[in-house]
């Protein structure tokens, strides 16, 4: 028996050695990678992001690629886990030698991946995960964001809710980086603009929680005036379904990340009247910044997936296009030169004109879209928003001085 084991072990080792044969020489296409989430609750957003990236790559390749070379998109799953995410990004950087990486969904994974990108001097562009800390406290030369960060998003909501009469708030969000950091920003801006506001409680179900009953009960017991949440995706879908039965939404005004994917997922089970916010709803973009490009994008996306594109797909498309534009501007794939080109780059964003990436924290001045969930006659399958508004990023983001101050404090 023992010899059977050792033989098996030796065989494995030999097989392992076979793998050490050096990989093929560099091919002609430019490789880029998307490390996103394709399994688990966050897969809803990850898959949308992957689709958006694929569409961008296809479009670029259709017009001859970039600098005369085709682009090859490698897709990896991070399972919304930092350890898997860092392994995958290390793999695509060291083994596949990609020119840039896009992704992920989870802000926790973003922080882990950012370290690897920094260590190996590779460009990482965030298109869904958005913790401000990855760009301010932990920012570095190689990380960029085309998506609304937690500070902008939270602050925009703080500003919006400050106009409402509610005084006693309860906060519920997923127990990880994004949940905590974004609600901090919300609370701060809310208190700045409405002095008599009080946060009477905060609870943090784990990311991917399936049973919200105890949390719903806790909120009901606390009797707040309103509830603020940054639950999203499958978590928000589960929460909404479960809370309905307690007449939760009749009791409390509620605000959460009701994006297009979440609304499509909820379908007929959605609750009208709740406040939604997100980072690029197609139905609002259509009204505020209509363009043929957006319509084409929507049409192509529907043809490919049979769904309407969410902001994750849109942001993902924007991220790839931003990188491509920077490469064209720098006229090389060399990382350092592309980074220089990305700083200050004006984006050809699907979300509209006037978007650019600023130098101090590599953050795009993209803002937050807010609306009230309501059915629209022209969309029978899922609800949209009414009374939609857009708060631009540069209206609420940290000033340059503030960014440097926060960074200095973090270094101590």
């Amino acid at each position: 028996m023992r010899s059977k084991y050792s033989a098996a072990g030796v065989l494995m080792v030999l097989l392992g050695l076979v793998v050490i044969v050096p990989p093929a020489e560099a091919q002609k296409p430019i490789k880029v990678a998307m490390v996103n989430t394709t399994t688990g609750g966050a897969a809803l957003y990850g898959l949308a992001g992957i689709e958006g990236a694929k569409m961008a790559v296809a479009e670029l390749n259709a017009s001859g690629g970039v600098l005369g070379r085709k682009i090859e998109l490698i897709v990896r799953d991070d399972a919304a886990k930092p350890d898997v995410g860092s392994r995958e990004i290390r793999d695509v950087i060291l083994r596949e030698e990609v020119a840039a990486v896009f992704g992920p969904v989870s802000s926790g994974v973003l922080l882990a991946m950012s370290e690897v990108a920094k260590e190996n001097k590779t460009i990482l562009i965030a298109q869904t995960s958005n913790t401000e800390r990855a760009f301010v406290e932990r920012g570095h030369r190689y990380i960029f964001s085309v998506v609304t960060n937690t500070f902008i998003e939270g602050s925009a909501m703080g500003l919006y809710m400050a106009k409402k009469p509610y005084k006693r708030y309860f906060v519920i969000g997923p127990d990880y980086e994004f949940g905590h950091i974004q609600s901090e920003a919300f609370e701060r801006r809310l208190k700045e603009n409405k002095k008599d506001v009080e946060i009477i409680g905060r609870i943090w179900p784990k990311l991917g929680e399936t049973d919200y009953t105890s949390y719903i009960t806790a909120i009901i017991a606390a009797k707040p005036d309103a509830v603020y949440s940054n639950l999203f995706g499958s978590d928000l879908i589960a929460f909404t379904k479960q809370a309905k039965g307690y007449d939760f939404f009749k009791k409390f005004p509620f605000a959460a990340l009701y994006d297009v994917d979440t609304l499509q997922g909820l379908g007929k089970e959605v609750v009208e009247g709740v406040i939604g916010y997100e980072r690029g709803p197609f139905h609002v973009i259509r009204k505020l910044a209509p363009s043929q490009r957006v319509e084409d994008f929507i049409k192509k996306y529907r043809a490919a997936t049979n769904k309407y594109p969410s902001c994750w797909a849109i942001n993902s498309y924007d991220a790839v296009m931003a990188w491509a534009k920077a490469v064209k501007k720098a006229n090389t794939v060399d990382t350092e030169k592309v980074v220089d080109a990305l700083e200050g780059l004006e984006l050809d964003s699907l979300r509209g004109p006037g978007r650019y990436i600023r130098k101090v924290d590599h953050q795009a001045n993209v803002g937050s879209y807010i609306g009230v969930v309501a059915w629209d006659k022209s969309f029978p399958d899922f609800a949209l928003w009414k009374d939609a508004t857009y708060i631009p990023g540069d209206k609420v983001w940290r000033s340059e001085a503030e960014v440097l101050e926060v960074r200095a404090k973090a270094k101590k």
């Binding site: 399994t39 688990g40 609870i203 009953t213 009960t217 806790a218 017991a221 479960q242 039965g245 307690y246």
Partner: protein, 294 residues
């Protein structure tokens, strides 16, 4: 927050609801251990498969009938999967040490996880409960979802059914005898393999049923197998591996712990659950209702 009657009722209802799901799943786990002396780590996977099958049935049939059909079809399907597992894998390792069984069933978790991903895709699934169960009931000034009451009712029905099965039928008598001394039973000429299969299939059926019941609440995704496995494990251990009343009591305790724990100390509610498991294992390893293993 205020501790009024309405709140307490809500907390108790929420605890009962959680306990119901836990009981249905843990009962299968503990029964299988009691009779077959096997800890089936893949029990959570069976639960997950039940949820996915239910989702498919509901999505394919559309309309209200889908859910009721799934309620029957999914557990049966999972029972069949259970039969395959029992025949193909478990039969070979009944005599082996517990470690071997744990490893083999752990291997099954890995396999089923990927099989589910292959068959159903990685995307999250969302299905709805039938309209009849969708509303809420007022208790005092609070509202409670009808669906939660539905789940609790099912748990009670199952508890009664299992009790009848174990204490009032011939098969039940054989099961109890097998828990006592399977070898002796075999020496007496009873067809042990058939009993083992039946029990395992019942256990799988229960797991699948648990999966169907949670499906409409918006919780179908990969990873639900590990989540429920740990909780069911704790319940079974605290109640006593192999003990049916233990599963009932254990589920009740854990369900209430979660419900009240989230209210009082939300950050560490889950820690109390594991603390309970550790304390029971130290003081009385075979659980509240269990028997010391021979």
């Amino acid at each position: 927050m205020t501790w009024d009657i309405g709140t307490i009722i809500l907390l108790i209802m929420s605890g009962l609801h959680h306990a119901s799901i836990l009981f249905i799943v843990a009962a299968g786990l503990t029964l299988v251990f009691g009779v077959l002396r096997v800890i089936n780590m893949a029990h959570g996977s069976l639960y997950m498969i039940g949820a996915f099958v239910a989702a498919s049935v509901i999505q394919q049939t559309g309309g209200a009938g889908g859910f009721w059909l799934a309620l029957l079809a999914a557990p049966v399907a999972v029972g069949l999967v259970g039969a395959v597992i029992e025949f193909g894998v478990l039969r070979r390792i009944y005599q082996a040490e517990h470690v071997v069984q744990l490893l083999a069933t752990y291997a099954l978790i890995l396999i089923f996880d990927d099989l589910v991903k292959m068959i159903w895709g990685a995307e999250y699934k969302s299905v709805s409960a039938p309209a009849a169960l969708a509303g809420s009931i007022r208790i005092g000034d609070q509202s409670v979802p009808v669906y939660n009451l539905f789940v609790i009712t099912w748990a009670l029905i199952l508890a009664a059914a299992l009790w009848l099965l174990i204490y009032r039928t011939g098969l039940g008598r054989l099961i109890r005898a097998a828990v006592e001394d399977a070898e002796m039973l075999e020496a007496l000429g009873v067809n042990i393999p058939r009993i083992f299969s039946s029990v395992f299939i019942i256990g799988a059926f229960l797991a699948g049923l648990g999966g169907v019941l949670v499906a409409p609440r918006g919780s179908i995704g990969l990873g639900m197998d590990l989540d429920i496995l740990i909780e069911a494990f704790v319940v079974a251990v605290i109640g006593g591996l192999g003990s049916f009343p233990g599963a009932l009591l254990g589920a009740g305790i854990i369900g209430m712990m979660y419900s009240f724990g989230t209210q009082i100390a939300p950050q560490m509610a889950m820690a109390f659950v594991f603390l309970a498991m550790v304390i029971v294992l130290i003081i009385r390893p075979w659980g509240l209702f269990g028997e010391p293993e021979r």
